[in-house]
C-alpha cells in the first residue's frame, strides 16, 4: 500500500519535472520580456511593456514578422497539398518502390537543415534565379512536407478501404468519394501535418539563413542579427509574440477545421 503511494508520487514527480524542464525556457522568455532591465535578471525587478513597444515600433522587426507570416502561410498551404497528395500516392497508388519513395520523402527530417539550405542556395546560384520569395517557400516546403507526409500516412494506414467502396456502391464517383469520405476521414492527419508545417516554417532558421535576401529577412534571422549587437528585452518580446502567434494558429485551426478524429487513431 505504502509502496504504491510512493510509486505514484515518484511517477507524478517525474512527469512534473519533465513538464517543468520543457516549460521553464518559455517562462524565462516571459520574465525577460517583461523585466525592465535589459538583461535576464532573477528575481525580476518589475513589470514593463516597453520591450513590446520597442518591438512593435521597429519597422525592421515588423516587416520581418510580416514576411515570416507570409512565408509560413504559403508554406503551410503548399506543404499540406503536396504532402497529403504524396502520402495518398504512396499509400494508394500501388507504385513500385513505395518504401523507397517514403524514405526519400522523409529524408529531409534526418538531414541537418543547414545542409538543405546550403544545397538549395547553391542550386539557386547555379540556376541564376536570385533570391526570390518563392525560393524561400520552396526551401521551407522541403523541410515541412515530410511532416505532412508522416501524419497523413499515419491516418491512411488505419483507413478502412471498405468505406470508400461503400460510397462507390451508393453511387459516388471516385472524385466524389474522395471529397465525401476519404478527405474528411484523413483530415485530422493532414491538419496536424499542416500545423507542424506552419510552426517549423515560422520558426525556421537554418534554411532561411541561406535563402533570404539581405534587407528582407524573416523574423528568426532578424532576431539573430539583432542578438549579435544588442541583447535586451526586445528579443524576449519578439519571442513571446512568436509563441502566442503560433499558439493562436494552432487553436484557430483546431476550432475551424478540427483536429479531433472521428476514428480512433
Amino acid at each position: 500500500m505504502l509502496s504504491l503511494k510512493v510509486g505514484r508520487f515518484l511517477y507524478l514527480a517525474v512527469n512534473w519535472a519533465v513538464l517543468a524542464f520543457l516549460l521553464l525556457p518559455i517562462l524565462i522568455i516571459f520574465v525577460f520580456a517583461l523585466n525592465p532591465t535589459p538583461y535576464i535578471e532573477f528575481p525580476p525587478v518589475g513589470v514593463t511593456l516597453k520591450w513590446f513597444d520597442k518591438f512593435f515600433a521597429s519597422p525592421q522587426f515588423m516587416s520581418a514578422l510580416l514576411l515570416s507570416l507570409e512565408v509560413a502561410a504559403l508554406t503551410t498551404i503548399a506543404a499540406t497539398v503536396l504532402g497529403a497528395s504524396a502520402a495518398l500516392g504512396i499509400a494508394r497508388g500501388n507504385v513500385p518502390g513505395s518504401r523507397l519513395i517514403t524514405a526519400i520523402m522523409l529524408s529531409p527530417l534526418m538531414l541537418p537543415a543547414i545542409l538543405t539550405g546550403l544545397a538549395l542556395f547553391q542550386t539557386y546560384v547555379l540556376m541564376d534565379v536570385g533570391r526570390p520569395l518563392w525560393g524561400l517557400v520552396v526551401g521551407h516546403c522541403l523541410v515541412t512536407v515530410p511532416y505532412v507526409v508522416r501524419t497523413t500516412l499515419a491516418v491512411l494506414h488505419n483507413f478502412d478501404l471498405r468505406l470508400e467502396e461503400a460510397a462507390r456502391n451508393l453511387g459516388a464517383s471516385p472524385q466524389r468519394t474522395f471529397f465525401e469520405v476519404t478527405l474528411p476521414l484523413i483530415k485530422p492527419g493532414v491538419i496536424a501535418g499542416g500545423i507542424f508545417a506552419f510552426i517549423v516554417s515560422f520558426d525556421q532558421f537554418p534554411v532561411s539563413l541561406f535563402l533570404v535576401s539581405p534587407g528582407q529577412e524573416t523574423l528568426p534571422i532578424t532576431l539573430f542579427n539583432y542578438l549579435k549587437y544588442d541583447l535586451d528585452g526586445t528579443i524576449g518580446a519578439a519571442s513571446v509574440v512568436s509563441i502566442l502567434l503560433a499558439a493562436l494558429v494552432v487553436i484557430g485551426l483546431d476550432r475551424t477545421v478540427g483536429l479531433r478524429s472521428y476514428v480512433k487513431l
Partner: protein, 354 residues
C-alpha cells in the same frame, strides 16, 4: 425493379496467383434469395465483389437485367451492398449515412428526408437519426447498413456475411427480419455466408462453393437431400460417406464397401468403377438386437440432443455410422454396447460425385 443476374464463365485470379474463383456459371432469378455458401476462402466474397464491381473478372461475363455490366464501374451499377463489418461512414450521422446514396442520385432534399424516415422505420430505427455510428450497438449498426442499402431501391442487394458479427439470438431474429424485408421489397438478394444453417433457413436457392468452383446449385431441400458431390454432402449437415466398388447387375446395382458391408443402390444409369454414396444419419433406423436389415452393429456412444439422439454405431471392420433417432419419449437412449440392426431403403443412399 428487381433484376436477374447471370454469371457466365467467370474466373478471377489475383496477381497471377491460383484462381480464387474458377469458371463459375449461375443464374440468379429476379426477386430470389440466393446464397453463396462455402468454407472460408472458397471465393464467396470475391464473387460478390465482382458482382458489385469492386473486382474485375479475369475471364467471363456478368449480366444484370440482361445488360452486360462486366466493365461498368461500381458507382454506376445501382446495387445495394451490406458489408461484413457494415462500413458505416464514421463521420456522418445515421441520417446522413442513409441519405448518402439518395444524395448521390441528386434527389431533392424533401424527398430524401421522407425516404430516409421510411427506410429507418422499416429497420425499426426511428429516433436514432442523429446518432453517430460509434454510438450504436452491433445490431443497430447492421440495421443502418441495411437501411442505407435498401433506401436507394436497388435492383440487386448484396450482403457479405451481414449477420456474422452478431450474437446467436440477435442473429436469428435478424435472419427472420432480413428474409421478411427481402420478400416485401421483392429485391434480388445475393447473400454470402459460411453458415450452412443460415443458408438453409433463409435461401430460395443456394450455390455451394469449394475452392473457387460451384459444387452444386439448388433449393435448400435439394442441397440437403440430394447433394451432388462428396463435398456438399460433407459440408451440409452430418453425413455417412461410403466409398467402394460397383458390383451387382444393372437392374440391381450394389456397392461393395469392404468385406463386411455391401450396400444395395437405387437403380441408376451410367454407374461404373469406384463410387461414393452418402447416407444422412436421420435416414438410418435403429432396431435393438436383431438380424435382417442392412447392417448390424453395436452402439458405441449416444449423444442426447433434446429433440433427438445421435448414435455412433460401430460396424464390423472398424467402420462407424452415425444414426439419428427422434426422441419419442420412450425413455433413456440405447446404452453403449447394445447390439442393433440398421435399416434404410436404397433410395436413401445418394450417389455422389467426387
Amino acid at each position: 425493379m428487381s433484376a436477374r443476374i447471370e454469371i457466365v464463365g467467370v474466373s478471377k485470379s489475383y496477381d497471377g496467383a491460383a484462381r480464387a474463383v474458377d469458371d463459375i456459371h449461375m443464374t440468379i432469378e429476379p426477386g430470389e434469395f440466393f446464397s453463396l455458401l462455402g468454407p472460408s476462402g472458397c471465393g464467396k466474397t470475391t464473387t460478390l465483389r465482382m458482382i458489385a464491381g469492386f473486382e474485375m473478372p479475369s475471364e467471363g461475363i456478368i449480366r444484370v437485367g440482361g445488360q452486360d455490366i462486366t466493365r461498368v464501374p461500381a458507382h454506376k451499377r445501382d446495387m445495394g451492398m451490406v458489408f461484413q463489418n457494415y462500413a458505416l461512414f464514421p463521420h456522418r450521422t445515421v441520417r446522413e449515412n442513409v441519405a448518402f446514396g439518395l444524395r448521390m442520385r441528386k434527389m431533392p432534399r424533401a424527398a430524401i428526408a421522407k425516404k430516409v424516415d421510411e427506410a429507418l422505420a422499416m429497420v425499426a430505427l426511428t429516433g436514432f437519426e442523429d446518432r453517430m455510428p460509434g454510438q450504436l450497438s452491433g445490431g443497430q449498426q447492421q440495421r443502418v447498413a441495411l437501411a442505407r442499402a435498401i433506401v436507394i431501391e436497388p435492383r440487386v442487394l448484396l450482403c457479405d456475411e451481414p449477420l456474422g458479427a452478431l450474437d446467436k439470438k440477435l442473429r436469428q431474429s435478424m435472419q427472420f427480419e432480413l428474409k421478411q424485408l427481402q420478400k416485401t421489397l421483392g429485391v434480388t438478394l445475393v447473400f454470402v455466408t459460411h453458415d450452412q444453417e443460415e443458408a438453409l433457413a433463409m435461401s430460395d436457392r443456394i450455390a455451394v462453393l469449394s475452392r473457387g468452383k460451384v459444387e452444386q446449385v439448388g433449393t435448400p431441400t435439394e442441397i440437403y437431400d440430394r447433394p451432388a458431390t462428396r463435398f456438399v454432402a460433407d459440408f451440409i449437415g452430418e453425413t455417412n460417406l461410403f466409398r467402394g466398388e460397383l458390383v451387382g447387375t444393372d437392374g440391381a446395382p450394389a456397392l461393395r464397401v469392404d468385406g463386411h458391408l455391401t450396400l444395395a443402390l437405387p437403380a441408376a444409369d451410367g454407374l461404373s468403377g469406384a463410387i461414393s454414396v452418402g447416407l444422412r444419419p436421420e435416414k438410418v433406423r435403429l432396431t435393438p438386437g436383431g438380424a435382417g436389415a442392412q447392417a448390424q452393429g453395436t452402439v458405441e456412444s449416444a449423444n442426447f440432443q433434446g429433440g433427438h439422439v445421435l448414435y455412433r454405431i460401430a460396424l464390423a471392420g472398424n467402420r462407424h455410422v452415425l444414426a439419428q433417432s427422434p426422441n419419442d419419449g420412450s425413455g433413456a437412449p440405447l446404452a453403449a454396447g447394445t447390439p442393433v440392426s440398421l435399416g434404410w431403403t436404397p433410395a436413401d443412399l445418394v450417389i455422389l460425385k467426387d
